[in-house]
Symmetry: C2
Subunit: 440 residues, 2 copies
C-alpha cells in the first residue's frame, strides 16, 4: 500500500467519495479535502423533530442507475419507492387540465429521436451539433411546439425540471446530451420506472457518510477549502487555508463553476478556463411543506404536478413510509426561483402555500412546517442541480470537460457520460476519474 | 486627509486607477492592490527593437469618449489618428466584393432603432427586454437578415468585432445594451469619427503608468493577488498572499468573471454570485504582422478589412506615424480564435499569414515579425475584450451588475453605462464607483 501513488481528491460529495473509494481499493494513498464540515455535497437531509426525513438536495435513484443501487446495498442501506398514489395534476394557466396538449408528446418524441444521434461522451461530434448548439431550447421549442403556451410549458418541464435553468439559457444540444445520458425523456420525467423511482432510507447523505467511514482513517479532512493547486514535473501541491498536501495527482470532484474558482499554478489552459466561465450552476428553489398526513391521497390525487405557470413548475409527494406526515415538495426554477429569492420570507411562504393549494386544494395552505434550503446561497455549491453549459459553448469548450490538465483530473456529476447531473453520474464520474489516475 | 475614509481598490487597470484617482482627490486614504507586476490591466504595449509600438490589448479612443481624451491631456500625452489610407476591403466567401449586400445596412438600422429603446443603465426594463434576452443574436440574425451568408457575416462583425464572442453565445439584448452605450452601430464600427478613431502615443499603458505615478506614494501595491474580501459592520479586510489591508469600503475593479473567483465573507448573495457565473470573458485572438513599410497603401488599400469567413474576422492598419514600419493587425473571435489556439504555432502563423495575404496581397505572407498575445491565457484577464452576459441572464442577473454588496462596490468597464467594454467605460465605471463610495 505504501508504494501506491498519492492522490488528492478535492470535494467529498458523492463523486469525490466514489473516486476516493476506488483509488483506495487500488492501493493508492488518498487524501480527501472537503471545504464543508460535512460530506455529501449537494445531498443534504434534515430531520423534523418527529423523525420525518426531508431531502433538501439530491434525493432520487431509478432504473439503470446501477452504481447507486450497488453502493446502497454495499453499505447496508435500503431504498423505498417514491410516493405517487393517485392521479397526477396538470395545471394549465392555473386551472386543472386532464392531459397536456397533443404537441407535448410529439415534441418529446422529436427530442428523443434527436438525442439518439448524440454521443454523450462527445456531443460536439453529432452531425447536427453546430445547429443544435446554436439554438437555444426556447428558440427551438417556439419554432417546434406549435403554440406559445406549449412551448413555455415544455421549457419549464425540460430546462427547468431537468436542468434547473431557463429554456432561453441553454442550448438544444445541452438538453440532448442530458437526455441521451439518461436514456431519454421517459426515464427522466418518470416517477416509477424513471429517475424519480426510489429514495434512500436516511437520505443520500447516509450513503455518503458510510462511504466516508469506509475510507482508511485520516483520509478525509473536513473544513479544508482548497485555494491553490500547483503542479510540476514532480507532483502536485494542494493548498488550503491551514496547510498543504502533496501528491502525484489530483481529482477535482467539483462542478466546473467552483473548480474555476481555485487558483492553478501554472494557470489552466485558455479553453479549460473558458469552460469554467461558461458552465453556471442551475438555479432551483426546493421547498417542503409538511402536513399532519398526506391528505391529498384521500382525494385520489398523487401530489405530483406540473404547471405551465406560477412560481412552482412541479411538485411531488415527498412523504416517507416511516412517518405518518404528508410532505409536498415544490420546485421553482431559473427566473421564477430568482423571483422567490427576492421576496420577503413571509411573502415567499404565502406564494408557495398558494401554489401548493392550487395542486391539492386549500388544506395545503396550512402546513405544519415549510422548509426551504437555497443551494445558490451555499458557498460550496452555488446552485443546483448542476452546471449547465451556456448556448454555443459545447462545440468550443465541451471537449475540455473531462480532459485532464497534466496531473489534474476532473470528476463531478457534470463530467459523467451516463446520468450526468444525478447521483449516479457523480459516482460514475468519480470512478472514471480514479481509473484515469490509476492508468496514468 | 488622514480623516478620510479608507478605501481598498482591487485592480490597477484603467478602472481601478480612475477610481483611486477620484477617491484620492476627495481626500480618501486609498490602497490599490494589483495582482500583476504592472498597471494597465487589459492594455499592454510592446515595442519592437526598432521602436515600433504594438498595442496588444485595448488601443483605441474616439469621439464622445470625453473622459479618456481629458485624461490623456491631463497626463501630458498625445493621440494620433488611426491609419486608414485608401479603400477598405470586404472579403465575401474569400473573394473581394465592393459592397456588403443590401440587407446589412437594413439590419444595422433595425438594431440601432431597437437599441434606442434600451436604457444602458437598466436594459432589463426595456419593453421588449424579455423577448430580446430570450433571443440569441444569431437566432435573430438568421430570422432577420434574409440569407445565411449575411446573417453569418453580421454575426462575425457584431458579436465578434464588438464583443469578441459568437453570435450564438450572446443575446440580442446584450448587443443592444452595448450599442446604446456607445451611440449605435455607426460610432462602434467606424474608424475616423468612430470608436477606432485615435490611438495614444506610447499606448494606453503610458496613461495608466502616469495615473499610477500621480497617486500618493505607497498607494499602489503590485504583485498583490487578492484571495478574500471580508466585511462586517466595522469595515472590510482584504487578504492577499502576503498580508491584509483594512478599510471602510472596497472597489472591485475587475471583470465579473474574475471578481467571482475571489472568496467573500460573508458569501455574495445568490444573484450576484450567479451573475459572476454568467458573464464569461470574450475570446479574441489579436495578431500583429510587421512589414518594412505599409506597402498596401501604394495599392490604394487601407489594410482595413472585414471577412465573412476564415480565421480573421477583421484587420486594421495598425502602423504608427513615428515608425516607417507597416503593421497589420488581425482579429479572430470565439470559435475561430479557439481553433487558432489549438493549432501548433507554426500552423497558426501560416494560417494568419494567408489571411493577411487575402486582404492586401501576397507580400503580406512574409512579415518581419508576427506578434501574438493571448489574453485568454493571461491568468489575471482570462479573455477579452470584456465580460459578456450569456443569453437569458440580463433579466434575472443584470440588476446585480452594479449594485453594491454592503461595503463592496463594483467597477470595471463591464459596469459602465456609457462605452461599456472600452477604456472610456473603464474610466467612467471607476469614477462612478468612487462617487458611490464617497456618497455612502
Amino acid at each position: 500500500m505504501s508504494d501506491g501513488i498519492r492522490v488528492v481528491v478535492i470535494g467529498a460529495g458523492m463523486s469525490g467519495l466514489a473516486a476516493a473509494a476506488a483509488l483506495c481499493r487500488a492501493g493508492a494513498r488518498v487524501r480527501v479535502l472537503e471545504a464543508r464540515g460535512r460530506v455529501g455535497g449537494r445531498a443534504l437531509t434534515r430531520w423534523l423533530p418527529d423523525g420525518t426525513q426531508l431531502d433538501l438536495g439530491a434525493q432520487w435513484i431509478g432504473p439503470t442507475q446501477d452504481r447507486m443501487y450497488a453502493l446502497v446495498a454495499e453499505h447496508g442501506l435500503v431504498t423505498f419507492a417514491s410516493a405517487a398514489f393517485g392521479a397526477s395534476t396538470l395545471l394549465w394557466g392555473g386551472a386543472r387540465r386532464p392531459d397536456p396538449p397533443a404537441p407535448v408528446a410529439r415534441v418529446l418524441g422529436v427530442l428523443d429521436e434527436y438525442a439518439a444521434a448524440v454521443d454523450p461522451a462527445a456531443p460536439w461530434e453529432a452531425h447536427e451539433a453546430a445547429r443544435w448548439d446554436a439554438t437555444t431550447l426556447g428558440c427551438w421549442l417556439r419554432a417546434t411546439a406549435g403554440d406559445t403556451d406549449t412551448a413555455d410549458y415544455l421549457g419549464r418541464l425540460l430546462a427547468g425540471g431537468l436542468l434547473a435553468t431557463g429554456a432561453d439559457e441553454v442550448s438544444l444540444l445541452h438538453l440532448l446530451f442530458y437526455l441521451r445520458g439518461a436514456g431519454g425523456t421517459g426515464p427522466l420525467l418518470g416517477m416509477a420506472g424513471g429517475a424519480q423511482q426510489d429514495r434512500i432510507v436516511g437520505g443520500p447523505p447516509a450513503l455518503a457518510e458510510r462511504m466516508a467511514a469506509g475510507l482508511p482513517p485520516g483520509t478525509l479532512r473536513l473544513g479544508a477549502a482548497v485555494h491553490t493547486i500547483a503542479q510540476d514535473a514532480h507532483g502536485v501541491t494542494v493548498c488550503t487555508g491551514s496547510g498543504r498536501v502533496e501528491g502525484d495527482a489530483v481529482v477535482v470532484a467539483l462542478a466546473p463553476a467552483l473548480a474555476g474558482r481555485i487558483r492553478y499554478d501554472p494557470p489552466l489552459p485558455p479553453l479549460r478556463d473558458g469552460l469554467t466561465q461558461r458552465m453556471p450552476m442551475g438555479s432551483a428553489w426546493k421547498v417542503h411543506a409538511v402536513y399532519p398526513e398526506p391528505f391529498w391521497r384521500a382525494d385520489g390525487r398523487s401530489g405530483v404536478s406540473t404547471s405551465s405557470s406560477g412560481p412552482l413548475t412541479e411538485t411531488v409527494d415527498n412523504s416517507t413510509p416511516t412517518s405518518p406526515r404528508g410532505v409536498l415538495t415544490g420546485f421553482s426554477y431559473a427566473g421564477d426561483a430568482a423571483a422567490l429569492r427576492e421576496m420577503s420570507p413571509a411573502r415567499r411562504r404565502e406564494c408557495v402555500r398558494e401554489a401548493f393549494a392550487a395542486v391539492v386544494g386549500p388544506r395545503a395552505a396550512d402546513p405544519i412546517a415549510l422548509v426551504e434550503y437555497d443551494w445558490s446561497a451555499d458557498e460550496w455549491t452555488r446552485g443546483c442541480f448542476g452546471g449547465v453549459l451556456t448556448p454555443g459553448a459545447w462545440r468550443t469548450y465541451g471537449p475540455r470537460l473531462r480532459t485532464p490538465v497534466g496531473r489534474v483530473h476532473w470528476a463531478g456529476t457534470e463530467t459523467a457520460t451516463r446520468w450526468a447531473g444525478y447521483l449516479e453520474g457523480a459516482v460514475r464520474a468519480g470512478e472514471r476519474a480514479a481509473a484515469e489516475v490509476l492508468a496514468s
